[in-house]
């Protein structure tokens, strides 16, 4: 094969996206005089079938062996043009793309500037491609097992979907039970289904599914490998109860003398030191809270042990680690409710009858602390309730984004208050957002039921009365922006509807090398066209870890993530990267620096030859070794010095 470069350059108009700003004819003309360029053309849409066929025809009729396309981002169409090259018999790595859309025409106003920039970027690609080498990709087998991280409705749905296909799922949940937030809600909007009634069958299905290994009280600790071949270490926290022996009879819980606030009930009720979080927990077997347990604190008690017939209490149990191998990972780590400073403007923590959404859910729940009776701190039933939207949301001081679900769940609260107490409801909103199937109709229904919906964000909740009617009550101060009046509304109870936040304490993104946005939510590969993929191949997103969403959207996304994981498993193989590192055995001094730095453990040391060796199956071509190698022996294929320097010269040449 002749290695004398014969380069074809193609400048794409992308309709007016590029050609509207960049003088594409001039770019093409400039490239024609570059060494090695055989032909240089511009065309309306290079990614179209005629555009691709033009490349194929030119390769065949002009004997091209290198191709440069100046168009959009390689993330968009690199694969498309590499495919065309391959079809015409040119190695895909003899293709180079210059991004003159995202990096140029979309962000440059001045046409002359934009054209000069396009010429510089395209020239860099042309000069770089001259020294490219043909690289081969390899096929690697994909493991069929899937790991799902997080056992809320997102993880449950994803796990069941994968399991139903016959593939095996490991479902890892850090709490002692699956169910997540949904298990704590009372009703779900807009249909008002009982949340537990529709969730618990799914929880049970997970618990008993032959294809699901349920790992509660567990956390992912380490993830190694790559798409199709992940090695995952899972830490199992000590539960101090042997779940293989435990029958879930509950005698231990009954006898335990310690009472601490229940996390599940937002501290509104007590649980024991040995406990199952709620009656329908899966697995429905208790764990011991070490911090609360009298035995662990003082060395005495062991009442639970005495009453446990199957002898399942295991005070000696230790934290352990389990290793699992999977081909794909679905992240379903969910969200937490906003609990920040904004709450304090509304008296949360200062006035006992100012409660949060989650506290309201528990107070309303038949299995909650009041058995579903909405009561105030003194036990009375409220005669009037204010519901405050957007707590910490749409607020640049706290969370700038809209959490999407708060308007709807607040409307649901209005209904529940009316239904249970007949109280007057004053609902304060900024903009009512009800875009979803049946959502606007639900909004309409709440208005019909007589809730007072007031357009205005509340400034403060105070107990400073200015007239006898306000005495002893909570006064909600807001402007009714439609009436143009500043209102003081005395009520008995205030419900705060906070937005959704990303988990602040989660290390999962870091372990998976996934990026999170400024708010802490996982970033999907493409906001429209790859909403469940991530930049890490083989890692998919489901539910609120990617951004706030309601239950229907979460379930849909979970099924989508499962489908993506299954597509991978069904295909059975992945193309391994051709752009791997290589170590020149003649130059390597055997310092082993690269061995310790390689994040994929792809470099080993050949003790006989005293040099480092790259395992190309494991290498991801990240270039760490090449950057660190003191002798220059380690090089990243496709990113060798000659490529980088040619590229820089291309940009700088005027």
């Amino acid at each position: 094969m002749s290695h004398e470069p014969r380069i074809g350059v193609y400048v794409c108009h992308c309709g007016v996206n590029i050609a509207g700003v960049v003088d594409v004819k001039r770019v093409a003309a400039e490239m024609a005089s570059e060494a090695g360029v055989v032909l240089s053309r511009e065309y309306k849409f290079m990614c179209s079938t005629p555009g691709q066929e033009m490349i194929i025809d030119d390769i065949q009729s002009h004997g091209l062996n290198r191709v440069v396309v100046a168009a959009c981002s390689p993330r968009m169409h690199e694969g498309t043009f590499q495919g065309a090259c391959r079809k015409a018999g040119v190695n895909a790595y003899f293709f180079q793309m210059a991004n003159i859309r995202e990096h140029d025409s979309w962000v440059t106003l001045d046409k002359e500037e934009a054209t000069r920039k396009a010429i510089a970027l395209t020239r860099a690609a042309v000069r770089r491609v001259r020294n490219h080498e043909p690289l081969e990709t390899r096929q690697v087998e994909v493991r069929k097992e899937v790991l799902v991280i997080g056992g809320g409705i997102a993880g449950i749905e994803a796990a069941l979907t994968v399991a139903e296909s016959g593939n095996h799922v490991y479902l890892v949940e850090r709490e002692p039970t699956i169910g997540g937030h949904m298990a704590r809600f009372d009703k779900t909007f807009p249909t008002l289904d009982c949340s537990a009634c529709i969730l618990t069958p799914k929880m049970n299905a997970v618990g008993s599914h032959p294809n699901i290994t349920l790992m509660t009280s567990c956390e992912v600790e380490e993830v190694k490998g790559f798409v199709g071949n992940f090695d995952v270490k899972v830490k199992r926290k000590a539960r101090y109860v042997d779940h293989d022996k435990c029958t879930g009879c509950g005698a231990c819980v009954e006898k335990c003398p310690v009472k601490v606030p229940s996390e599940f009930d937002e501290g509104l009720s007590k649980r024991k030191a040995i406990y199952t979080p709620f009656p329908q927990a899966v697995p429905n077997k208790p764990v011991i809270d070490r911090a609360a347990c009298t035995y662990f604190r003082t060395g005495k008690c062991r009442l639970c042990e005495r009453f446990c017939e199957p002898k399942a209490i295991a005070f000696e149990q230790q934290e352990s680690t389990q290793e699992i191998q999977v081909g794909a990972i679905i992240v379903a780590t969910g969200f937490e409710f906003y609990r920040g400073e904004a709450l304090s403007w509304y008296g949360h923590g200062r006035y006992p009858n100012v409660i949060t959404a989650l506290e309201f859910e528990r107070l309303n729940n038949a299995s909650g602390p009041t058995e579903g009776v909405l009561r105030m701190a003194d036990g009375r039933v409220p005669q009037s309730v204010a519901i405050l939207h957007c707590i910490g949301s749409r607020d640049k001081n706290y969370q700038e984004y809209c959490s999407r679900v708060c308007c709807m769940y607040s409307l649901k609260f209005a209904h529940l208050v009316k239904e249970k107490t007949g109280a007057e409801v004053f609902e304060f909103y900024i903009d009512m957002r009800s875009p979803g199937k049946g959502y606007e109709e639900f909004h309409d229904r709440i208005r019909e039921e007589g809730a007072h919906l007031i357009r205005g964000k509340v400034g403060e909740v105070t107990d400073l009365a200015v007239n006898p009617e306000e005495q002893g009550r909570l006064i909600v101060v807001a402007e009714d922006t439609l009436a143009g009046s500043r209102l003081r509304v005395p009520v008995d109870m205030v419900v705060l509807s906070p937005g959704l936040s990303a988990h602040r304490d989660s290390k999962v993104a870091q372990l998976l090398k996934c990026a999170v946005d400024k708010n802490g939510f996982f970033i999907e590969k493409h906001p429209k066209l790859a909403p469940v993929d991530t930049a890490t191949d083989g890692v998919f997103l489901a539910g609120c870890c990617q951004g706030p969403k309601d239950i229907p959207d979460t379930v849909a996304q979970s099924q989508a993530a499962a489908a993506k994981a299954l597509a991978l498993a069904t295909r059975g193989v992945v193309e391994a990267e051709g752009r791997t590192a290589c170590i020149d055995p003649e130059v390597c001094a055997g310092c082993k620096l690269c061995v310790s730095l390689c994040p994929y453990k792809a470099i080993s040391f050949d003790t006989a030859k005293e040099i480092s060796v790259v395992n190309e199956v494991l290498c991801k071509g990240c270039g760490t070794c090449a950057a660190a190698c003191p002798s220059g022996a380690a090089q990243a294929r496709h990113f060798k010095d000659v490529h980088i320097f040619n590229e820089i010269e291309g940009v700088l040449a005027l």
Partner: protein, 388 residues
Amino acid sequence: MAEFMRCTSPMLEVAQALLEAGGEELKTCYQCGTCTSVCPWGNLIEFSPRRFIETARLGLEGFEEATWTCVQCRMCQDRCPQQIDIPQIFRAVRGVLSEGGSTPPALRVPLAGLRGEGNPWVEPREKKTAWATKNDVPALAPEHEVVLFACCANEYEARNQRDGVAVAGLMKAAGVSFGYLGKEGTCCGDLIATTGAESLFSLLRKTNLNALGGVSARTTVTISPHCLNAFRNRYPAVLGMTFRHVTELWDELLREGVLKPSRGGAARVTYHDPCYLGRHNGVYEAPRNVLKAIPGIELVEMAHHHERSICCGGGGGGAWMERPKGERLGDLRVMEAVSTGADTLVTACPYCVQMLEASVLGLNLEGKIKVRTVSELLSDSIAQGGVE
């Protein structure tokens, strides 16, 4: 036909003028009304900053009346979910209206005084330093380390002179190497800037920059939070100087043990946060620390304090504008203070002193509560205070 067609059209030329005058940020307002609900005026009169913004945005009739009400207390800005500098929008609109000749009559005196004599009361400029001479306040000299910058009120107004004298006395007692910037300086211009009088403010600023540019001291201490705010936030940082409020200096000198308060005050006091010390410049604890350090003083908080403090009504030119009884923010504040059971209402701003004292008189509460400054109370408690 015309009367059946009553409708309003946007006056985009007006709106554009407001944007260009510095009202840019109003574009992002989403009309939630938080500003109106937290505005202290809401307790007394109908006043909606939200509506003001909406009408100004479209140039609709109606925003003019509301323009001069705002006291620039910054409560709305701190709570605005869009972080809009709402006080700045009022200033921009005021500037545009003033250019069109619609300055409220009440502002004519201070405007004329500041333009002609460098103080808002049209007092002759020569009298600026009389208070200092009378009370042996040292004039600034090259060897001094600290510039004392007094408020016009300390210089020309009898009540606030007492505060100025207390400050100078404390500095002497603490052995601070300081000198008073006299006739070379002029009014800081902070308050007049909030009325939209940009060109007048620039003149005052120029004079002060010239005066301070020539001194060797690297720290300037102000008695008024307004002077502090002007220097910190409205003047360019070219002076390379540190600006501090007196209460910050007292707090430091007390912590270092340089000032040792001994004589007890045996008073129950409450502290009123001046908007320009608290919300505008974040100084909340220094004045409280000073009060707590004085033996015998019991500090109690009002219903609204720190970030939630209510304005005295003097900001934004309010100090120069008469308000009918029942529409005075100062009255609200004094009543809050009285309801704490305090016998002294302490503050740290000459304009707050004026407004609050006027309210005490107006409400016939002279026997019940006194208005003092942090410096005055501290001075009382220092043996060599050198007061009066």
